[in-house]
């Protein structure tokens, strides 16, 4: 496995002109067990500022578990997590979210009873500062804040081209649009790190193309760092700057798409060569 970029953390500019900075998030020797099942075995990798980092691997490899560790839904038994250069203590998911890490779920977790607009608005909760007493007493401040948040939400809605469904209850939307609304809610938080668990799973070709474009645009226009899990190899190769490959809880590859594609362990894992 080539270590071309791992040796140097100097900021650089990609071929398509995006800025990649220093390490934003670093996972060190993470091990996660569920009873007897070891979902993640001693994995280390990092995510650099401004990059699109993919996590790939066969079913059950531990990809979602890794994303859940990053977002605080699971706490690993061993290992350390560094965020923005500081060691992060074990945290609850809501605390991680407040650090500016937003996510979507493999199985979509939306507020089905709320409209698209209200769903996306919940993404702004961390930006609503005025407490309830201030809101009750000082109407001006609350209104100004509400306007700001609405504007941010409208921007996301325009960006993801979902104006037509703003008032629709989310429960009634088709699958592809739900995925898009979930992305919108995550974006509304203006995260510094965006985690996407299979954002294109179950979509048709056209929807996949749209979603790919949105992900690239988010990264490009807002400079948002993105870590995503994806099964479609073509998509991964197109989107990501670097790829982590997992299999049976272990990391078997890490590098640029080209490096990973030519890695023998990775080829074996995907061709189903037996493990010993």
């Amino acid at each position: 496995m080539a270590n071309s970029m791992k040796d140097t953390y100097e900021p650089y500019v990609t071929e398509d002109g995006r800025q990649i900075g220093g390490v934003l998030m670093e996972m060190k020797n993470i091990t996660l067990r569920f009873g007897g099942v070891v979902a993640i075995k001693d994995i280390s990798f990092d995510i650099r500022e401004g990059e699109v980092r993919a996590i790939i691997g066969p079913n059950g490899a531990g990809k979602s578990s890794m994303l859940n560790v990053i977002s605080g839904f699971y706490n690993p038994q061993e290992g350390e997590v560094f965020y923005k250069g500081e060691k992060r203590p074990p945290m609850r998911p809501y605390q991680v979210a407040r650090l500016g890490i937003a996510r979507t779920f493999q199985n979509i977790a939306l507020f089905d009873g709320m409209s698209v607009l209200d769903n996306i608005m919940t993404g702004r909760l961390n930006h609503m500062k005025a407490g309830m007493w201030k809101q009750a007493i000082w109407k001006g401040a609350a209104e100004r804040e509400e306007t700001e948040n609405r504007e941010a939400v409208e921007k996301v809605i325009d960006f993801l081209e979902i104006q037509a469904i703003r008032k629709t209850p989310v429960g009634r939307l088709p699958y592809g649009l739900k995925k898009r609304v979930e992305l919108a809610r995550a974006l509304a938080a203006e995260p510094s790190l965006l985690l996407l668990d299979e954002p294109m799973a179950g979509m048709n070709v056209e929807e996949k193309e749209d979603m790919s474009r949105f992900i690239l645009d988010v990264n490009d226009e807002f400079g948002t760092t993105i870590a995503l899990i994806e099964h479609d190899m073509g998509v991964v190769m197109d989107l990501s700057d670097r790829v982590v490959v997992m299999d049976y809880g272990k990391k078997i590859g890490d590098g640029t798409p080209d490096e990973v594609r030519n890695n023998q362990d990775v080829i074996d894992a995907y061709l189903g060569v037996s493990h010993d």
């Binding site: 996510r103 779920f105 309830m132």
Partner: protein, 332 residues
């Protein structure tokens, strides 16, 4: 207008007032059930506990006086002061927040993710525990609660409506306390709706009610929200406790109004705030009207004890999702 009809109207008005109280208790149920899936059997006891605490604080009673006296051989019962009603209500509200915090952190926090039946059992335990604590803290004698609300029939209303009927109609007979209770309940519901629609915490509360995982991912602390909903349920219970206590005295039978909330919930649905309100009003009006039209003349009266349950049963058979619930469609 025929006198019979006017008396019927009066019955409906009185039923509405009674329904307000049922609605308040049901509202407390709905708040907790929506946010945490806990069917809170203790909601009625919460109202009792709030009323007991309010009286105790107003009268300057020493909490746990019996216990203290038994252990230390002292004879203290009262601090010797009286606390004004408004201040006492605020203090009681604070006690309800503290209680909410304890209930969540000592009990339900440890039961997150358990089967609904286990949560329900825990609330039964909580109900009896709270009843015992209320007894131990403030004593079990019947207390009068006088927070200065107007009492008695409204003569103004009686005099000014008498002209509607003939010789035998003396005007609508409605208790002033009931009118105030209705007004307060309406204000409370408006405040709750504004809170849940327009404040950060209210939005977070709705989010938690809808999906826990999604709520966590946008940075909402579930524990905070659960303490919040138990506190809100505590406030609603306090209001219900004040109304009921002012009307019939603070006594342990107060916790039984929780049982009247059950048919209300079956009508209104367990997750709908408007459902709780409309359901409460329907039960209130229904049982009074049924007694007036059918119960008293043909069935020997006292139908108010069972009417609500039978109505709920009929609803269960024909519209199990309640008035406002979405139609339940079996997925195959």
């Amino acid at each position: 207008m025929p006198t019979e009809f006017l008396y019927g109207v009066e019955v409906v008005l009185n039923g509405l007032m009674a329904g307000v109280l049922y609605a308040l208790v049901a509202l407390g149920f709905v708040l907790i059930f929506k946010a945490s899936g806990i069917f809170n059997y203790a909601q009625g006891v919460l109202a009792l506990f709030a009323a007991l605490t309010l009286v105790g604080i107003m009268e300057g009673q020493v909490p746990f006086a019996h216990l203290i006296n038994a252990i230390f051989g002292t004879e203290i019962h009262h601090f010797g002061w009286h606390v004004p009603a408004v201040l006492a209500i605020l203090l009681t509200a604070a006690v309800m927040v503290l209680l909410a915090w304890c209930v969540h952190n000592f009990v339900f926090r440890h039961l997150v993710g358990q089967e609904p039946i286990i949560l329900f059992m825990a609330t039964i335990g909580l109900a009896y525990f709270l009843e015992g604590v209320g007894d131990l803290m403030w004593g079990s004698n019947i207390k009068t609660l006088d927070v200065g609300l107007p009492q008695g029939a409204s003569f103004w209303l009686e005099e000014n409506t008498a002209f509607l009927g003939g010789e035998e109609f003396y005007g609508f007979f409605i208790d002033k306390l009931d009118m105030v209770a209705t007004l307060v309940a309406v204000l409370l519901v408006i405040a709750l709706v504004l809170f849940s629609q327009y404040t950060k915490q209210g939005r977070a509360m709705r989010a938690v009610a809808d999906d826990h995982q999604a709520a966590l991912s946008v940075g909402i602390s579930l524990n905070f929200i659960w303490v919040l909903v138990w506190s809100l349920a505590g406030f609603v219970a306090l209001v219900a406790g004040i109304m009921w206590g002012a009307k019939s005295g603070v006594q342990f039978s107060l916790s039984l109004i929780a049982l009247k909330a059950l048919p209300v919930l079956m009508l209104g649905g367990f997750t709908s705030i408007p459902g709780a309100i409309v359901g409460g009003l329907i039960i209130g009006v229904g049982e009074k009207l049924f007694e007036f039209l059918i119960g008293a003349p043909y069935l020997g009266g006292a139908t108010e004890n069972w009417f609500a349950y039978v109505l709920a049963l009929i609803f269960l058979v024909f519209r199990p999702q309640g008035l406002f619930g979405e139609k339940i469609i079996e997925r195959v």
